[in-house]
């Protein structure tokens, strides 16, 4: 599938990042790779959009970050969900489900 080169809007980036981090802690590059792989290459976060999104969520208190040295001896800054972030995830996912459901009903995306 061709890669859609578009800027993922702030709202969708939040639900994507929060969902990924609810499964396990990850560093920035890993988050970007996971998004690309899980979306089959359709979604791609560039550095200039990924890190501002992460820092925004840090500022809101949804995430916390810490430095850790990997077994290979490389220092990486990992992100994990805070309790507040976990609380945000459920309503965010619900509203996205409603939005996509509505979009699908109108635009008949399944038949596209």
């Amino acid at each position: 599938m061709d890669r859609l080169d578009f800027k993922v809007k702030q709202g969708s980036s939040e639900v994507i990042i929060l969902t990924l981090l609810s499964q396990r802690e990850m560093h920035g590059y890993e988050i970007g790779k996971q998004i690309e792989e899980l979306s089959g290459g359709v979604l791609r976060f560039e550095m200039a959009s990924l890190y501002p999104a992460l820092y925004r969520m840090l500022k809101k208190g949804w995430l916390e970050a810490y430095w850790e040295t990997s077994p290979a001896g490389r220092k990486r800054r990992y992100y994990r969900l805070t309790k507040n972030g976990r609380r945000q995830l459920r309503p965010l996912r619900r509203s996205w489900r409603q939005f996509l459901g509505a979009l699908n009903r109108i635009a008949r995306l399944q038949n596209a």
């Binding site: 200039a48 501002p52 820092y55």
Partner: protein, 220 residues
């Protein structure tokens, strides 16, 4: 091993917050580099791709650096500073063009100013981006540039011309109405449209998103 920190921010003094940001982005580049190498890219190719990405991170670092600051500081830095700086130059150019068109009446001052407006709108928006401004900041910075002209024209339209109309009502149809129409159509609309075009070109043609692509399976 390469020093990826130098790729992100070469030869710069950094405070602790900026050091942390640079460190994190350097880790990202390092991961990028290692993945390219794993995919079979030569050391030279991989480093060149990563270097290109690193060189374009300046605005991102500034944006992250200021993400923690209050909204007012960001607006002062990314909107007011570039906006007023460019507005000042815009005023100078406007006056200079006025003098030139006075000397050479055959020149179309409006067309020249429209081009100047496009250029200044573009510059204000780009300047704002370099200072870490987001799309909204950049559009506002461009809008400030026109404020100089807009205030002057508004003064004319809403104060001077109505007063002249009252004083010289008998000439309304012959002289003042066409003059008013000319000012509205050219001196305001032209500048506004030109500035909008300039800022939109800057925002959409050069978005602040790093578009360095990492070719899959780069030849070794």
């Amino acid at each position: 091993m390469h020093d990826f920190r130098k790729l992100v921010a070469p030869d710069r003094k950094q405070d602790p917050r900026e050091r942390e940001i640079v460190g994190e982005l350097a880790c990202h580049l390092e991961e990028m580099y290692m993945e390219l190498r794993r995919d079979g890219a030569s050391e030279e190719t991989a480093f060149s791709v990563v270097s290109t990405a690193g060189k374009r991170l300046g605005p991102t670092i500034r944006r992250l650096r200021w993400e923690g600051e209050g909204g007012l500081k960001t607006w002062l830095r990314a909107v007011v500073l570039p906006g007023f700086f460019l507005a000042l130059f815009y005023g100078v150019c406007n006056s200079a063009l006025g003098v030139v068109s006075w000397q050479y009446p055959t020149l179309r001052r409006e067309a020249d100013l429209a081009l100047v407006s496009i250029a200044f709108g573009f510059c204000a928006s780009s300047f704002s981006r370099e200072l870490g401004g987001r799309k909204t900041h950049r559009l506002w910075a461009s809008a400030i540039v026109i404020s100089y002209q807009a205030i002057a024209e508004s003064f004319m339209i809403f104060l001077v011309i109505p007063m002249e109309l009252i004083r010289n009502a008998q000439y309304l149809n012959e002289v003042l109405a066409p003059a008013l129409l000319r000012i509205v159509s050219w001196d305001v609309m032209t500048f506004a449209v030109a500035l909008v075009i300039g800022s939109l070109i800057s925002v959409y043609a050069f978005p602040p998103v790093l578009r360095a692509t990492i070719p899959k399976g780069t030849p070794a």
